[in-house]
């Protein structure tokens, strides 16, 4: 067995193990952390496929940002497992139905009739000076530039929508304008006046 | 308008931050004022109230006559005195304890003493390793007086003209 194959099996094992642990873990925080581990394993598998840009992006976006916010939310929530368990049987039929559909779809797509070595050729190994990211950029900005820009605009719309949902100006809230505070000079707040005291002359 | 423009320029060139950093940079090369304690000491006033000591007369006779004025005046009740008659018929202390955990170093005992027996020295860097070390017994107090006789006499002399 080659070194790369050993690595493949190690990472695959961790991917499956951590995914299962994520599903079966009772502690939500543990679930999130197992999901992070499975992301890492998937990224390592992609690295073995020479898809280093995708692997790094997976870590940067999902591990570095999305899962951080997940954990952020989990920390704030007060999850009571007893209520979740009470609802479990109610959701069970729907859950089983969805699971069967997913398994059927996956087996159709990833079955040996569709996804075997016979159908998809073994990826070509490139030399170490082959720049994956340049090839990807060339494809994205020439062949698929239209779709790429559309996706970007879609994300932008999502961002603006999220901000407008949150950003309501409530007249009851009191806010401080930091720019105004910082720009204040002493002369804006304090007025120095010279007062002539009438008794001064008498005392002399 | 012009002022606002000036303000923007000032903000974006980080003017005030750089000024602040120039101050610390100047202090970096300035003369340091640290006193390296065990080797160097700052001057101490002759009226400094440090750890206590019992004094003796030049002929070796202990000064304390067990009048218990210090015990009475002590605001923290730190002093405990027992007295008895010595063989020669004079009244002397058999026990003279100062609890340093109680003592607030006010110096009233020193002021009250009619024979200048109990004094407070300039020693402030003392330490003890056991709990009962916090109680200064008569023996220990006399020892401190013996060991620092010169310094005590010197400071009392210096201070005497203002009393």
């Amino acid at each position: 067995m080659e070194f790369e194959q050993i690595l493949f099996y190690v990472f695959s094992f961790w991917l499956i193990a951590s995914s299962l642990a994520m599903v079966f873990s009772r502690n939500t925080a543990f679930s999130a952390l197992f999901l992070i581990l499975s992301f890492f394993s998937a990224a390592s598998l992609w690295l073995l496929l020479e898809a280093e840009f995708l692997a790094i992006t997976l870590i940067l976006v999902y591990v570095g940002a999305v899962m951080v916010l997940f954990l952020f939310v989990i920390k704030m929530l007060d999850i009571e497992s007893s209520t979740l368990r009470a609802k479990f049987t109610g959701y069970l039929p729907v859950g089983i139905g969805v699971a069967i559909v997913v398994i059927a779809e996956m087996s159709l797509v990833l079955g040996s009739s569709q996804f075997g070595l016979g159908k998809v050729a073994n990826p070509i190994r490139h030399s170490s000076d082959y720049s994956n990211i340049t090839e990807l950029a060339m494809e994205l900005y020439t062949t698929y530039v239209y779709q790429f820009e559309l996706a970007a605009v879609l994300l932008l719309i999502a961002i603006i929508a999220a901000i407008t949902l949150i950003h309501r100006i409530d007249p009851r809230t009191k806010k401080q304008s930091i720019a105004e505070q910082v720009n204040t000079k002493a002369s804006d707040r304090v007025r120095l006046v010279s007062i002539s005291s009438p008794n001064k002359e008498d005392k002399k | 308008m012009l002022n606002k423009f000036k303000k923007i320029i000032k903000d974006f060139t980080l003017n005030e931050l750089l000024f602040g950093m120039s101050v610390t940079a100047k202090e970096l090369v300035n003369t340091k004022i640290t006193v390296q304690f065990p080797e160097e000491r700052t001057p101490i006033s002759p009226r400094f109230r440090g750890i206590h000591a019992l004094r003796r007369y030049p002929n070796g006779e202990e000064r304390c006559i067990a009048c218990k004025l210090c015990e009475a005046v002590c605001p923290a009740n730190a002093i405990t005195i027992e007295s008895e008659m010595r063989e020669d018929g004079s009244r002397r202390t058999s026990q003279y304890d100062i609890d340093l955990f109680k003592c607030i170093f006010c110096g009233f005992c020193e002021e009250a003493c009619p024979v200048d027996a109990i004094v407070e020295t300039q020693i402030f860097d003392y330490a003890f390793e056991s709990r009962d070390g916090s109680v200064l017994t008569k023996k220990r107090l006399l020892e401190i007086g013996e060991q620092n006789k010169k310094a005590i006499d010197q400071t009392k002399l210096e201070d005497s003209k203002y009393r």
């Binding site: 954990l71 920390k75 990211i133 | 202090e27 340091k32």
Partner: protein, 358 residues
């Protein structure tokens, strides 16, 4: 230096002839790792010493001077103190995550150094996307803080972790945009090639066309490494030490080391991206170039890094801590628009082909 290394590698291959050199490859990777981590840890140890000394001097004190001549052995005294201290577990803490947190903080901090080049052809790996790798692994470091805050089961660590989470995620975006401008100028994501683009004298360095980005990057770097004046994660005066409250002994030391190794990494990154990496500032000047020809390239890198490390301490000694909401405002309302604006400026400058940079 590289020739010496090459002969050493061949020696290792000859000593271990079995398994087609497979074991030797692993062994060489291990040796490389140790050769990187040991100087890094010593550098980190002396960074703490320098910090205490420099901040002391700026406050008219003299800093540590008891252990060894002028206190030079102080870091070792600190290490031994940390090693022999008891690790205390809070009674209701989640023990696995509690122990995992310092490891998760420390490992990414060291792992980043795998791709940081220290000289011409002097690196552990020459990854094609090394700048992205640095950003990605750097963003993993935040988990140490989050998990520490959550697993301690204590209020101050949780507050510190909550503060840091939002902060680090926000500033990663800014650092990402700054990196984009650098990548646009250098037209490569490889740190080696970014440095190669700055060859030939100080006027070729990228800090000239990207000057505002350099300042934005440095301020963001202060935030990313939780340094004063942005150290709201620790915030000694408000939340007594943030995520570190419940940690003691070696567990705390790991957090501490991670912070300092990240500081050194950020300084190295600033030099590589904006200040010509290991290139001498006098390259191309007739007389000075020859005069400084004897200086090895890694020395230039270390000299430039030292300035930035000093800047960390200088800034810490000068400024009071930012209020949390003002840091967020600075990120989203000042830095982010500025970086996006500068991306357009760089795009225009690239099209015009201005100066020696584009």
């Amino acid at each position: 230096m590289m020739a010496l290394w090459q002969s050493f590698v061949e020696l290792v291959y000859e000593l271990i002839p079995w398994l087609d050199g497979g074991v030797a490859t692993v062994l060489i990777i291990l040796i490389k790792g140790v050769a990187l981590i040991l100087p890094l840890i010593i550098m980190m140890a002396y960074m703490t010493y320098a910090e205490r000394k420099v901040i002391g001097y700026m406050q008219l004190r003299i800093g540590p001077n008891r252990v060894g001549p002028i206190g030079l052995l102080q870091p070792f005294a600190d290490v031994f103190k940390m090693l022999f201290k008891e690790i205390i577990f809070p009674s209701k803490a989640n023990i696995y995550l509690f122990l995992l947190a310092p490891i998760l903080a420390f490992v990414p901090a060291v792992a980043i150094w795998a791709v940081i080049p220290l000289g011409e052809g002097f690196y552990i790996t020459n990854l094609d996307i090394s700048l992205l790798y640095v950003l990605a692994i750097g963003s993993v470091g935040v988990y140490g803080i989050i998990i520490a805050g959550w697993a301690s089961n204590s209020k101050y660590p949780l507050l510190g972790a909550l503060r840091s989470t939002a902060l680090l995620v926000s500033y990663e975006i800014v650092i990402g945009f700054v990196a984009v401008t650098v990548v646009m100028v250098a037209s490569s994501v490889n740190l080696n090639e970014i440095v190669a683009g700055q060859k030939g004298g100080a006027w070729n360095w990228y800090f000239i066309p990207l000057f505002p980005m350099m300042i934005v990057f440095w301020i963001s770097a202060l935030t990313e490494t939780n340094r004063a004046p942005f150290d709201v994660v620790e915030g000694e005066s408000e939340i007594v030490g943030g995520t570190h409250v419940e940690y003691s002994g070696m567990c705390f030391a790991l957090f501490f080391m991670a912070e300092y190794i990240n500081m050194i990494m950020m300084a190295a990154l600033a030099v590589l991206m904006f200040f010509g990496g290991w290139h001498s500032p006098f390259e191309g000047i007739p007389y000075l170039d020859d005069l400084f020809a004897f200086v090895p390239d890694i020395m230039w890198l270390l000299a430039k890094m030292s300035f930035f490390l000093f800047l960390y301490l200088w800034i810490r000694a000068t400024f009071p801590r930012f209020r949390y909401d003002q840091i967020m405002r600075l990120c989203w309302k000042v830095f982010l628009p500025l970086t996006i604006l500068w991306i357009f400026v760089v795009a225009i400058l690239t099209q015009l082909g201005v100066g020696p940079w584009f």
